[in-house]
Symmetry: C2
Subunit: 414 residues, 2 copies
C-alpha cells in the first residue's frame, strides 16, 4: 500500500528568475508551517484584522476594505470585475498585452460591453487615448493592468484616476506583478480597486490575492448585497439590485465575512493567510521606498549586463517594469534550448512569453526575495555561458562587470 504513493515533496534547488512565480522568502514558508485555527477563533480573526492593517500600508491606502481573496491573483481580478459589473455595463480597458486581453475576456464573461484602448505589445497606452474612450463610452469601470509581464511593460497610472472621477467611472488596477516592487500609492492615484498576488514582488506562493476597495466602489458592491439563505436571520435574505453572478467572488459577502459581522462565507484559507500576512510584514520591515529602489537598481544592473552581452531588449524600455526584463531572442538561437540549458546546467529558470511573443523573447525577472545583487550576477554569468555554448558571439565577462558597475555606482552615490 505504501510503495506507490510517490516520495516526499523535495523540489530541486532552483533559482526562479522568470516573470514569476519566484522563490518565496523562507520566513513566509516558515509562517505557513504554523498550526491552524478555527476561522472564528478570536486569535484567528485578530490575524485577519492585522492582515487588513498590513495591506493598507502596502497599498498606501486608507481603505477600510482591504483583505484577501482565497485564490490566485486571477481570482482577485475576477472578484473585482464580477462584483462591480452587471450585464450590459460598459467597461474601458487599456490593452497592451496578454493580461489586458485577460481583463477583456473576464469582463465579457460578466456580460459587460468592452471597449479596449489598444497599444502595440511592447508599448503602453497614451493617457489621451484613455480619456477619449472614457469620454465617448462613459463606462461604469476602467480596468487596467499595471505591469503586464507578457510584454514587461508598466502602464503609467498617473492621471487615469482623475479622468475616471471626472466621468464618474470606477477605476480598477491589476497590480499582480508590481505590488511590493513598483510604487503604487493607491489613494494618491485615485484607484478604486486594486488586486494582486503573492508570487511576484511580494515573495510568497501563488494562492492568495490581496485586494483593496475604496468606499465609493464598496457602495456600488454593497448595492447588490445578498445574504445566503442558509445563514440569514429572517428578512435578511434579499437584496435590492441584481445578484452578483458568482457566490465565491461576491465581494459583498466576502466583506461581510471580513467585517465585525463575521457572516460565514468560505472557510478562510488559514495557511495562505499566514503566508500573506508574513509577506506584508517583510515588505513593511524593509520599507516601501527601499524596496522599490532595490527593484529599480536590479533592473538597471540587469539591463546593463544584457546590453553588454550584445543582446537587444524588447519594447519601450522607458516604460519597462523594474522587476522583469524582456530580451529579443537573437536570430539563429533556439530560445527553448537556451532555457533548458539554464535550467539543467545552472538550475536557473528564465521565462519565455505568450501568443505573438512566444519564441520571440525571453523574460528575466529579479523580484521579491530573489531581487538581489548576487542573483542578478549569477543569472547574467549563466546566460553568457549558455549563449557562448550556442555559438552566439559575445564579449566574455562583460555582462557581470557591467552589472557590478551599476551596483558600485549606486553605492558611491548613496
Amino acid at each position: 500500500m505504501t510503495n506507490d504513493i510517490f516520495d516526499e515533496i523535495d523540489p530541486p534547488q532552483r533559482l526562479l528568475m522568470g516573470p514569476g512565480p519566484v522563490n518565496a522568502h523562507p520566513r513566509v514558508l516558515r509562517a505557513m508551517s504554523a498550526q491552524l485555527l478555527g476561522q472564528f477563533d478570536p486569535e484567528f480573526t485578530a490575524y485577519m484584522n492585522e492582515t487588513m492593517a498590513l495591506y493598507r500600508r502596502v497599498f498606501e491606502t486608507e481603505n477600510r476594505w482591504t483583505f484577501l481573496i482565497d485564490g490566485t491573483s486571477r481570482a482577485g481580478i475576477e472578484a473585482a470585475l464580477i462584483s462591480v459589473l452587471e450585464p450590459g455595463d460598459n467597461i474601458v480597458i487599456p490593452n497592451f498585452g496578454r493580461f489586458g486581453l485577460l481583463l477583456t475576456e473576464i469582463a465579457q464573461r460578466c456580460g459587460a460591453v468592452v471597449t479596449t484602448v489598444d497599444a502595440e505589445w511592447g508599448t503602453v497606452v497614451a493617457l489621451e487615448a484613455i480619456e477619449e474612450a472614457v469620454a465617448r463610452v462613459k463606462p461604469r469601470l476602467v480596468a487596467c493592468v499595471h505591469g503586464d509581464t507578457s510584454t514587461t511593460m508598466a502602464q503609467p497610472l498617473e492621471g487615469i484616476g482623475e479622468i475616471c472621477r471626472r466621468y464618474d467611472a470606477l477605476f480598477y488596477v491589476d497590480a499582480t506583478a508590481t505590488l511590493g516592487g513598483m510604487s503604487l500609492p493607491v489613494d494618491k492615484l485615485g484607484i478604486d480597486i486594486v488586486t494582486a498576488g503573492l508570487q511576484k514582488c511580494l515573495g510568497g506562493p501563488s494562492g492568495s490575492a490581496p485586494i483593496t476597495i475604496s468606499d465609493r466602489a464598496a457602495e456600488r458592491i454593497f448595492s447588490r448585497r445578498h445574504v445566503e439563505k442558509g445563514i440569514a436571520p429572517a428578512g435578511l435574505v434579499g437584496g435590492n439590485a441584481p445578484r452578483i453572478a458568482s457566490n465565491y467572488f461576491d465581494l459583498a459577502m466576502i466583506m461581510d465575512y471580513w467585517s465585525e459581522k463575521r457572516l460565514n462565507h468560505h472557510t478562510e484559507a488559514t495557511t495562505m493567510l499566514y503566508g500573506a500576512r508574513e509577506c506584508a510584514r517583510i515588505v513593511l520591515q524593509e520599507g516601501l521606498e527601499a524596496r522599490y529602489t532595490r527593484h529599480a537598481l536590479a533592473s538597471r544592473a540587469m539591463v546593463a549586463g544584457l546590453e553588454a552581452m550584445g543582446l537587444t531588449l524588447f519594447g519601450d524600455i522607458s516604460n519597462k517594469m523594474s522587476n522583469v526584463t524582456g530580451i529579443e531572442i537573437p536570430v539563429g538561437i533556439d530560445g527553448e534550448h537556451v532555457r533548458a540549458r539554464m535550467r539543467l546546467d545552472f538550475e536557473i529558470e528564465i521565462g519565455s512569453s505568450f501568443g505573438p511573443l512566444q519564441g520571440r523573447i525571453w523574460r528575466i525577472g529579479a523580484m521579491g526575495y530573489n531581487c538581489r545583487k548576487h542573483n542578478v550576477l549569477i543569472t547574467l554569468n549563466a546566460l553568457e555561458c549558455v549563449l557562448r555554448g550556442e555559438g552566439f558571439k559575445l564579449p566574455s565577462g562583460s555582462a557581470a562587470d557591467a552589472a557590478l558597475a551599476v551596483y558600485a555606482a549606486s553605492e558611491t552615490s548613496a
Copy 2:
C-alpha cells in the same frame, strides 16, 4: 518602521474539535514549507501529475480528470456548477441543510432553474423523492451534498447515480466534509463530478479543492471550451457553445492547464498543491478502509460518551456523518458560554451551527488528524467539566468511561 507590524504568527495550542477546519497533520504543514518551483518546471508538472494519480485513488475512480481547484471547497462547488450549467438549465438538488441551500444559490447565480427536494434539517432525502423530481424535471444536473455539516446528516448516495443515468442527467456530489473520512467510491456510485476540501477529513488547511470529473461530464464541459485570446495560436480562440460564465472556474481551461497541453491559466498555487499532495499520501498510506473505520469508531465512542452524560443528540442518528456529531443544547444552558469555556479553560474548539440551528445545537467533530482516541476522551472530559460548572446535572466520569468501553470492545473484536 518595525514596531507596528505585529508579531510573528504564533497560534495558541488549540485542539480543533468542531465541524472543521481541524488541526492539520504536521506532515502536511512540513510539506508546505518546501521551496517553490515554476509552474511549468518538469519537476512541478510531475508533482501535478502525481497529485492527480493520488486523488484518483482517494476518490476511488478511474477518471482521467482528477485535479485541484485553487480555492476553498466552495470554489470547487462553484467550478463544478458553473462549468456544467448554462442559463435556463434545470437542476435538481436534494436539500437537507445549509449546504444544500448553498448549492441552490450558486445554481441560481448560474441562471439555472432549481428544483429542490427538501427534507427537514436533521433528516435526509428519500431516494423515491429524488427519483420523482428527476423524472418530472428531466434536469441536466442533480447536485447533492454528501455530508451537510450544518445538520451533521450524510445523504445516502446509493441509487442516485443510477437514476441520473436513466434520465440522462449528470450527478454532482459535494464531498467537502466527508472525503477521506466516509466511504465515497465515486465510480461505483456513478457520480460524475465530486469536489472536496482539505480542511475536514483530509487533515490539511482550507484553500485547495480536489475535484474529479467523469468522461461524460468532461464532454459536456469541453463542448463549451474557449481558449484565451492572449495565449491562443491563430484560429483556436473560439468555441462552439456559450462560453462558461467564469474564467477562473472554467473547468475546460483548467483541464487544458492540467493536461499535456499545459495551456497557461492561473498560476498553480504551489504551496497548497504540496499540501494537497501530502494529504492524499497520508490517506493512502493509512488505507481508505482503515481510515473510514477509524472515523466510524470515534463517532460511536463520541456518541456513547455524550449520551452517558445525559445529552440528547440531534437528528436522525442512523444517517449521522461519522466525523461530526450534533448535540441539542440543554434547556437553561447558554451554548455560547459553554463554547467559550471549552476554549478558554481547555483550548478546545467545538462548533455551533447556522440559521435555524444557531443556538440550538453544538457540533463536535473528530476528523482527519484529530480523529483519535485521546482527543475524543479529552473532549468528553472537558465538556463534562464545563457542563458541571454550568449547573447541568450529569453522572460525573461516565462519559469518558463509555467512550473507552467502545474503544475496548473494538479492540477485543478486532
